[in-house]
């Protein structure tokens, strides 16, 4: 088995008496989509925030590309190649779609302490950004401020920004949230191809998408992974059906 890109080991996080993350271990291997599902309040976003570095765990370790990153800042983890998207779109509202992506390209190239050369005529930023806009189908909206994009377009831009980071792993927090059935279908097909570039840890409520995409599924309930396995295994797991899937499966 290939060395995992991302490995979470016995992670713990409590808010007061509530154990939001209670000894979670999971990993992400090259080329796979690992879906993380669970009912509301199961601690999925808390887990993603700890992996991304926005929240410090109480105990446990997070290894990324073979390196212990538990103590690193969000920015440092992103520089190593960990790209996350947010459950509620988190973009730069005043900047155009293009500039949102250009900043990601700039971050990947390293130096932001360059003070004189204008970015808008910097083709090492504009060209890759335009290419990514074309890939997600937002070319026509390149000059529109992110604040004026539709909800669906903002979701696409979130993904585009993550792509521009050319990451070693994606953390996607409910990318389908609030998208119509058509949008979900298009995005599902898009993510299907994306796993070739970098593995994806996918938090998602849309079960059609999860079952279509996931190589592995882990089920989180009350801060604990109650089951982990292939789509078929998860669908037939009695405990998962009782705790979460209900009649949907």
């Amino acid at each position: 088995m290939a060395e995992p890109v991302l490995a979470v080991d016995r992670l713990e996080k409590a808010f007061g008496a509530l154990k939001a993350t209670n000894g979670v271990s999971l990993d992400l291997r090259p080329g796979e989509i690992h879906a993380l599902i669970g009912p509301n309040g199961a601690g999925k976003s808390t887990l993603i925030n700890q992996i991304a570095g926005a929240l410090a765990p109480d105990a446990g370790t997070i290894r990324f590309l073979g390196r212990d990153v538990t103590a690193l800042s969000t920015a440092a983890r992103a520089r190593l190649g960990l790209a996350r998207t947010f459950q509620v779109s988190s973009l730069l509202p005043d900047f155009s779609a293009l500039r949102n992506i250009m900043l990601a390209a700039q971050a990947r190239q390293g130096s932001s302490l360059r003070f004189l050369r204008p970015v808008l005529s910097d083709r090492t930023l504009t060209e890759p950004a335009m290419a990514i806009l074309a890939r997600v189908g937002l070319t026509a909206r390149a000059d529109v401020p992110a604040a004026e994009l539709s909800h669906g377009e903002r979701r696409q831009l979130e993904i585009a920004v993550a792509l521009a980071m050319q990451p070693k792993a994606f953390l996607l927090d409910e990318p389908m949230a609030g998208m119509g059935p058509e949008g979900s279908k298009t995005l599902t097909a898009f993510l299907d191809g994306l796993r070739q570039e970098a593995p994806i840890l996918l938090v998602e409520h849309d079960m059609d998408a999860v079952f279509a995409l996931a190589d592995r599924v882990s089920v989180l309930v009350y801060g604990q992974v109650i089951a982990s396995g292939s789509v078929a295994e998860i669908r037939s797991d009695p405990e998962v059906r009782r705790a979460y899937l209900g009649d949907a499966a």
């Binding site: 730069l92 509202p93 900043l103 700039q106 130096s111 808008l120």
Partner: protein, 324 residues
Amino acid sequence: MSPREKAATLALLALLPAAALAALLLGETFYITLATRIAVLALAAVGLNIALGLGGLVSFGHAAFFGLGGYAAGVLATNAFNAEPLAFGLAGTTSMPAISLVAVLLCGLVALPIGLVSLRTSGVYFIMITLAFAQMIYYFAISWPAYGGEDGLSIYVRNAFPGVETAKPFSFFVLVFALLLAALALFHRLQASRFGAALEASRQNPVRLAALGISPFSIRLVAFVLSAMVTGLAGALFADLNRFVSPSMLSWHMSGELIVLVILGGKGRLAGPLAGAALYVAFEHVLGGLTERWQFFLGLVLLAVVFLARGGLIGLLAGRPRHG
């Protein structure tokens, strides 16, 4: 920048020297001084506009840098005048380029630790911490009798700049205006650069910036230091304009005034500080001639700007900003 904003900016930039020139031709020296005052305050506000306008950092302590720049000029000139060496065997000087350099470097050096501490906070705590640092320096200046203490410090002869007769009001105006233009050019380049993009991103959404791999803290720290340096240069010029430095340059009133200039003109806009300074000095002069309570009316204008014209004067003239 939209064509409309460009036109408004150029018009404002042309208006000030035109007014100064008209005053020169009419022999109205006082109005040249007034135009110079606008240019110096605008320069100080250009500095604050880097932190506040681009970075969204509401520093309530920029008087510290304005005043330190002023004291750099006052102290160096006094020591040169009295032919007393400063500490470490350094001599005073009346050379403006040297004084400016000292003012800028001093402000950068002081802004670094202040920024390191205060940028760990945000929002109202950032405002309070920057205020606290500035007040510390203010009280230090008040209790420093060697350089006038509470009474301030006079500069007997305006400091010299090679090739410029600084004692002549119009020559001094031209010098100050040229430095303002240079600072505006720097601001313009900065805003359009990679650093400017990261700084504006840190204002819009620091969480997003960190998720991209850029630490908002370091970007803000650099911005804070640059911002202080520009405001410090303005302080040195202000001292030379008035031939006087006093602790009032360091007081929180001054910090507030600088914030008002930026908000009034249009924060984050290239010509905002100039528009704000022009409006402020015009108010001070026109209304100040009619009533001692002119700041009451300034308050009304500020209320109107905050509630009706968020973009300040430049927002009214040139519409909303465009970020490309």
